[in-house]
């Protein structure tokens, strides 16, 4: 059995002549929680839909559990749990009816786990899906996706529409799922604190490319924001490679730089600044730096 649960090879996707995904490649190992980030309309959902075989790729190949996405058979599909953005459930069904349908159409159904989720979410079995609030629909979708005991769980903005308590419950459940041997989660979210809390690897899509694909610790180590204060006016150009962003204000220069190390620090020190300090960055800061349209192109 391969160690790779999800693989994307040089994926290209055009929509009406516009290149949404431009040569994206990534691998998600078994047991990994992969957080896929990117601004609205950048192609996260498209990437996920291509992975699930719901959308053909313009070029490139994608694999889930070793099977090419467009050739996913029923058995392999049964090992993948999916929560879609917007929660496309059968709106005209009653919740209980939908649950029974999913149970019958699943390869394996973990009833005790579903009962536990139901206890947490308190799903109204007699109501129609369309009568549920967005939050309740999200919870139902999550419960259905998790109850099939998936080897791979793909979540497209799963906490969208959930209140804070439900979000925390979801994250706890996601951790619970991952703790079962070999489970893999790929999830996209706009709530970076959620990603920061549970993801152990981060991918950031920007301009159709995967500009970041590493662990959160590595990302924090590799990208650094440095505040440099000069006695007089700063030099016009700092001869550093990997500058993502540069802000100037009087004698102060703040640079966001990839692969910050002693050698780069020595280059800065050569200009005899008064003060050089590294500014701690949160995932939100890192995300803004990596997805800012005016940033200089640097792969991390």
């Amino acid at each position: 059995m391969s160690d790779i649960a999800i693989e994307v090879r040089d994926l290209v996707k055009y929509y009406g002549g516009r290149c949404v995904l431009d040569g994206v490649s990534l691998q998600v190992r078994r047991g990994c929680i992969y957080g896929l980030l990117g601004r609205n309309g950048i192609g996260k959902t498209t990437l996920i839909r291509i992975l699930l075989g719901q959308e053909p790729a313009s070029r490139g190949r994608t694999f889930v559990l070793g099977t090419e996405s467009m050739q996913l058979d029923a058995r392999t599909r049964g090992r993948i749990g999916y929560v879609a953005e917007g929660h496309h459930l059968l709106q005209h069904y009653r919740v209980g009816h939908l649950v029974r349908l999913c149970r019958r159409l699943s390869c394996q159904w973990n009833q005790p786990f579903f009962d536990k989720l139901n206890e947490t979410f308190r799903l109204p079995m007699e109501r129609r899906v369309r009568e549920l609030s967005t939050g309740m629909r999200a919870q139902l979708n999550l419960a259905l996706a998790m109850a099939i005991d998936p080897e791979v769980l793909i979540l497209d903005d799963p906490t969208l529409g959930l209140d804070t308590v439900a979000r925390w419950q979801f994250l706890a459940l996601a951790i619970d799922v991952i703790q079962r041997d070999g489970r893999t989660i790929l999830f996209s979210s706009h709530i970076l604190s959620d990603v920061e809390r549970i993801a152990d690897r981060i991918g950031i899509l920007a301009g159709g490319k995967l500009v970041v694909d590493c662990s959160l610790e590595e990302l924090k180590r590799r990208i650094c924001k440095v505040q440099i204060i000069f006695a007089e006016s700063p030099p016009d150009d700092l001869p550093l490679t990997g500058i993502i962003r540069q802000q100037r204000s009087g004698t102060e220069v703040i640079i966001t730089v990839a692969n910050w190390d002693a050698a780069k620090r020595a280059v800065v020190e050569a200009f005899r600044p008064q003060h050089v300090a590294e500014i701690p960055m949160t995932l939100e800061d890192l995300f803004i730096e990596c997805t800012n349209p005016v940033r200089m192109p640097t792969a991390v």
């Binding site: 075989g53 029923a74 349908l101 159409l105 099939i148």
Partner: protein, 209 residues
Amino acid sequence: MWTLIKREIDDSRAFFITGAAYTISIIVFVISNVYSGGLSSKSMSGWPILPMLVWAMVLFSGMGAKQMYMDKTRRISCFLSTLAVTRSAIFTARVITGVLLIVMTLLPVTAAWIIILKVVMPPIPLYQAMFVAGVRTVLLLSLASYSLGLLTGWAPGRVVPVLGGTTLALILIPLVILKGSGMETAVILVLVTAVSLIRSRQHFISTPL
């Protein structure tokens, strides 16, 4: 597969009820005619066969169109394909359900016809052959109408899915009237059915959900 078929039947309950009502009304009509005016080939020639046929075509093409159109608007396959189900299985279950509707609607009518004809017509092989050809044509016409419904139901917009299948199905009726219920008509109907089904399946499986 059974779960998918059951789901399709559940979603198309209205069509099955309409089909049953159609069947019952025809049988009631025939029985009432038998009791009121007796039964002869002459009295049978005045029966409204064409409206009966048109109603059946509208019902079957409507069923096909509704299955595909509702799938598209309610994103049914989009959800089902995230379970342990392939799009091919969804389509197969859909077609089986359609065929089931056709059989359930036409079988009692055919049985009623057989009984009546046994009573009315003399046991001449020519009449029997005509009856078999008639039943075959109606069955193939129904399948063709249903397939055309499936084909147009997946088309973009609202007008073509709602009216396209029925319009195309109704075009087939003059063909049957003009060419009769011979083998040529059967071949044409089989081809229409096959092409519509193949194209519908290919379209359904390859379209982004």
